[in-house]
């Protein structure tokens, strides 16, 4: 939907001009958002309102704007965005524009151009012909790149409510352990079905508690059934998943009951060593060494897996990316087409993934502790729905909702 920002000032409250202008917008088939309003404190002091007007098609918007101008509204003065060359590799110019995760446009030679690759906390690079713009991480900027500076000529659109009012229709970052989960999980399941049937992708980022807690079978089923298309995890999820196949344990504890296995603490190390000897997880699955669980399902269903390492990793497994900048880049490359993100039982991967996602991607963050979804929201992923619950329970309920029989 196209939009234009207008400003109104003067005695717009007591002259009823503001309500009148808003009525005009609605009656003409547009919608508005009051982006800013300042009401005069005394009778003499004028008031001010900045109104974002949206309408489709563009000529309807133009007619609405013309009508608003006759009621004293002025179109906010627009200027092209400013840019400066990056002073060195990996360094933005001072006052670089830092992105949000919301749809963003920059004005180039009088035209508003959408910024590609929306992600928070990056810079915006303009192509040399000044026809397009895309986000660029700090580490990837090269000397002389044209980087947008200041805020002039940059506009950010708030998220539009989706026409379909499912659980994501009122995206909110409220996190509470005291809300029923059933409705939300059913809503997530419906979206996963729609994405699978429509060719969209579901991203799953998870931590090893899924394996420890008994969520391995249901997650593997979701992958085998074609509901998950991208997996972000660390060394541990993959290790314990394959440990479960080879030894029936997760971090040495039997998954079927009983006390800790004798020398069980070695199981995950032996698992890592085994896979390293084979050369890759893919080869371990293909050769029949690993036949069940999450990683086996990923290989069979050709799920895009990005494993990002940390400094406490054992091994790590072949395929784990130990350079965090490279890991970020690999995660970023897997995002196009993602229509739902499930961030389960991993604060680290949840926040890392949240940072990379545009706010337009519905996101569900599941954790036994409210700290994780709260942290995600505090870092700007306001679209994330928080579910405070055990990961394995979530996965089992979700899988059952999609037809899994235990």
């Amino acid at each position: 939907m196209v939009y234009e920002t207008v400003v109104l000032h003067g005695h717009i409250i007591d002259s009823l001009l503001l309500p009148k202008v808003l009525d005009v917008i609605l009656q003409s088939g547009g919608t508005f958002e009051l982006a800013d309003i300042r009401i005069g404190k005394t009778r003499e002091e004028p008031s001010f309102a900045r109104i974002v007007v949206r309408a489709d098609p563009p000529d309807r918007l133009a007619r609405i704007i013309a009508e608003l101008q006759s009621h004293g509204a002025t179109v906010e003065k627009e200027a092209d965005c400013r840019w400066l060359p990056a002073p060195a590799d990996g360094v933005f110019p001072e006052e670089f524009y830092a992105t949000t995760n919301l749809p963003t446009e920059v004005r180039l030679r009088g035209r508003w151009v959408p910024v590609a690759g929306i992600e928070m906390d990056l810079g915006v690079r303009i192509d040399p012909g000044e026809h397009g713009a895309m986000t660029v991480p700090m580490a990837e900027v090269r000397t002389g790149d044209r980087i947008v500076v200041g805020r002039e000529g940059v506009r950010v659109a708030p998220l539009e409510r989706p026409a379909q009012l499912d659980v994501f229709g009122f995206m909110e970052s409220q996190v509470s352990s005291e809300r029923p989960h059933g409705h939300t999980i059913a809503g997530v399941a419906r979206r996963m079905e729609a994405l699978r049937d429509g060719g969209g992708k579901v991203l799953f980022a998870g931590g090893p508690a899924i394996i420890h807690g008994g969520g391995r079978e249901s997650l593997a089923w979701l992958i085998e059934s074609g509901f998950i298309h991208v997996l972000f995890c660390g060394n541990a999820l993959a290790v314990h998943d394959m440990e479960a196949h080879l030894y029936g344990t997760s971090l040495g504890f039997s998954l079927t009951g009983g006390p800790g296995s004798r020398h069980g603490h070695e199981h995950h190390l032996r698992t890592i060593n085994r896979i390293r000897a084979i050369g890759s997880i893919e080869e371990a699955v293909r050769s029949g060494v690993i036949t069940t669980g999450v990683m086996a399902a990923c290989v069979r269903r050709q799920v895009t897996v990005v494993m990002a390492g940390t400094i406490r990793d054992d091994g790590p497994l072949p395929g784990v990316i130990t350079d965090s900048v490279q890991a970020q880049a690999a995660m970023r490359a897997a995002l196009p087409g993602v229509g739902l993100a499930l961030l389960v039982a991993s604060t680290l991967h949840a926040v890392a993934t949240g940072n990379l996602l545009p706010a337009s991607v519905p996101t569900v963050c599941v954790d036994i502790s409210p700290a994780s979804p709260i942290k995600l929201a505090d870092r700007g992923s306001l679209q994330a729905i928080g579910l405070v619950m055990d990961a394995a329970s979530f996965l089992r309920e979700l899988a059952r909702e999609l037809g899994w029989k235990e």
Binding site: L16, L17, R43, P46, G72
Partner: protein
């Protein structure tokens, strides 16, 4: 003592059509117009005891008689009009010269914003109203408000016959109002009714509105209005005003009457 600016109708005629009242074939009679203008000024000077300042008429500027449209005067500041119709723009330098010669601080509106002076800008002690849409641009009031340090509430004029605020809205010195409500949209009506309580509003009937009952000049308790408006006259008397009816038919052919022919200077 009220001081009013007037301009003798030496060159007055209907030379173009820029409102629904003007018709080239319905030409004003210059002799009758002169007699009517002399009668109006006589009542203002003798009955109402107003002081009249007379501008020098200019050949080729027939509407210079409608001095209310030349600007808005507040204290020693005169905000010069910028006419919407090119036909009246040549009047602007003459009004500007007159204001300057009289020692007023003359203020101009930014390029591209139209403002038709006291024709569209009228008020009470504590609040002023600005008519917009037909002649004056609403944005003019943001500028004028800053020049004169007054709160101005813009009201939209929706009937082309009442193209200036002073054709349908006349504040009286006692806080009463003569007006023709259908000339405003519902927002404008609500704003006006919010400021002027019911018993103080004199809503004129349509047959008197089209005889320019609202286009009245107030000098103290005297109100001078066109003839043929008995209902309005009676209401004015009930509020303790002294109404004076004056024949102004030749000027109504141009869409103006008593108020349009004067500009309040004090």
């Amino acid at each position: 003592m009220s001081r009013l600016l007037v301009c003798p109708p030496d060159h007055y005629r209907i030379a173009y059509e820029i409102n629904p009242w003007m018709h080239l074939e319905g030409q004003a009679d210059p002799t009758v117009a002169r007699v009517q203008w002399d009668a109006l000024t006589a009542i203002l000077e003798k009955e109402c005891r107003a002081t009249l300042e007379r501008m020098v008429p200019v050949a080729g500027l027939p509407d210079l008689v409608f001095t209310a449209n030349g600007g808005a005067v507040m204290g020693r500041t005169a905000v010069l009009s910028r006419f919407r119709h090119p036909e009246r723009r040549p009047e602007e330098p003459h009004f500007e010269r007159w204001f300057r010669e009289q020692g007023y601080q003359v203020e101009h509106l930014p390029e591209g914003i139209f403002f038709e002076g006291a024709g569209d800008f009228l008020g009470f002690e504590d609040v002023w109203f600005g008519g917009y849409r037909q002649r004056t641009d609403l944005r003019a009031y943001q500028v004028v408000g800053a020049f004169v340090g007054r709160r101005i509430l813009p009201v939209e004029l929706v009937d082309p016959r009442f193209y200036h605020l002073d054709t349908c809205f006349c504040p009286l010195p006692g806080g009463e109002l003569i007006w023709f409500p259908p000339a405003f949209d519902r927002y404008g009506q609500a704003v006006i009714m919010d400021w002027v309580e019911g018993p103080r509003r004199i809503a004129v009937p349509e047959e008197e509105a089209v005889r320019f009952a609202c286009n009245a000049v107030c000098v103290g308790r005297h109100v001078v209005l066109p003839e043929g408006c008995p209902v309005t006259m009676e209401r004015l008397e009930s509020f303790g005003y002294t109404p004076h009816a004056v024949g102004l038919s030749e000027f109504i052919k141009s869409g103006g009457a008593a108020k349009c022919l004067t500009l309040a200077l004090d």
